[in-house]
Symmetry: C2
Subunit: 182 residues, 2 copies
Amino acid sequence: MPQSFDLFFASSNNHKFKEAKKILEEFSINLGFFRCNLEEIQSDSLKEIAKYKATQAFEKLRKPVIVEDDGLFIDSLNGFPGPYSSYVFKTIGNKGILNLLKQKRKASFVSIISYHDKNSQKSFDSKSIGTISKKIIGKGWGYDPIFIPSNYKKTFAQLKNKNEVSHRFKALKKFASWYFDS
Amino acid sequence: MPQSFDLFFASSNNHKFKEAKKILEEFSINLGFFRCNLEEIQSDSLKEIAKYKATQAFEKLRKPVIVEDDGLFIDSLNGFPGPYSSYVFKTIGNKGILNLLKQKRKASFVSIISYHDKNSQKSFDSKSIGTISKKIIGKGWGYDPIFIPSNYKKTFAQLKNKNEVSHRFKALKKFASWYFDS
């Protein structure tokens, strides 16, 4: 029997979905996976990218859906890789990022959740501030092995409670709080 | 009295327009500048990006128009910066590219010209194969000071005849030849 879900998460990234599902379970939201490839616009604004994707996802699915767009913004590199984090990860990877950095290692990891149903569209953002490590440390996906959040000495890949402190957690928490109030 | 042009070049980049104008003059095409910001899609295909922009430009201008999209593809970096060349240039610049490279420096510079008028749309591509220099050499825009085309010992920024040998020249030549035949 097909399971019924309150809400879908549209993405081609299984890691992201798993994290989002685990986080939203804490808020008693049963999240389904709408695996799809959505067209992206090139924009310096993550929010614009996320909204554009949420609209497309809703048009395809016709059920309440969220998408997430996230990016790593490194201060000394003028925000690089920013909205193009996923492409940059696929090409130069964490090694490439480490080769680009010298002394100044401040960065922020931003998450935007964009929600779309038949009546409304709304976006929620949050960020984790931190630094880029000097080596790749820990097993994790994406930039997790090189991002050390402030007040911690471990990378996201090493932290057991990443899903309780991350940018993604904080943006999903904002979303969940709005979702129950509305 | 406003000048009348055969064809317009839609771009926000003055350097690109100047080069294209100079090149197309050799083919007796009088190119006008349609300065505008066009929305870009995120795609790994330059051709798709260029076509999308050409369609938008034609919808705004309603006159025969070309757009150019170009990208630098570095072999040892899995094609980085590729379709995101312009964003990468704005953030990490040529210094960043040099920091990413060690021994293997092979790269290609690709240009796509996409034409749109009321009856047709057509794209033309070409590339220059070469290597990335070890330093920034010469005064030029974009990646010109770090790209050395094969069979030359100078960067595009140093070459006086860049406009007679570049990827942009070759793609525009293909376009011009089609434009006169059709």
